[in-house]
Point group: C2
Chain length 107, copies 2
């Protein structure tokens, strides 16, 4: 229960998670963090450019990370001038169960 970066005012609705996952670049960022957790913004940038030929600028990735953090899929942690990003798969757990279990809950 010592969650880092999870609650920042709103409790990260399910809609935020779906919208965050809707972008291919954001999905690649999650892939990158799944492969190597705890990367900084610059690390993610350069590795994404290397491996996926994704010419995304630093600011673009930064904005994508904001969306992922708001969706509670990424938690960030400051350490000096570095800011490390960690993947949080908890919002993915029962994300699609509402249609598979035939039980709707929220929007």
């Amino acid at each position: 229960m010592s969650d880092a970066g999870a609650d920042k005012g709103h409790p990260a609705e399910a809609g935020d998670v779906f919208k965050a996952l809707a972008d291919p670049t954001r999905r690649k960022i999650l892939d990158e963090l799944a492969e190597r957790d705890g990367q900084t913004l610059f690390e993610i940038c350069s590795r994404l450019t290397m491996k996926h030929q994704l010419g995304s600028s630093r600011q673009a990735i930064s904005q994508h990370l904001e969306v992922l953090i708001k969706a509670d899929l990424v938690a960030s942690r400051r350490a000096g001038r570095y800011k490390f990003h960690h993947l949080n798969t908890e919002p993915l757990e029962r994300l699609t169960d509402r249609w598979r279990n035939r039980e709707a809950k929220e929007s």
Copy 2:
């Protein structure tokens, strides 16, 4: 042309599924079909308006259904002047496993 709306040229990538799920109205349509499968366009329209106060027009819902069909989340079947829509949960099965199992595959 006896196909049930599943394959129409492209094989429904994972990105299409995420983008389809990103819209709250489309998620409610899936909720509606999960509760009562095989509804027509007009049925979905009226029931969505009744239960969710969703003032969505017929054309709006029709376009949402197109997106869901392209994502292979909904299959449609013609019968006379009616067109019934069926929920297909198969694309949801291992949708988020790529981050939970630490194994990336496609965009």
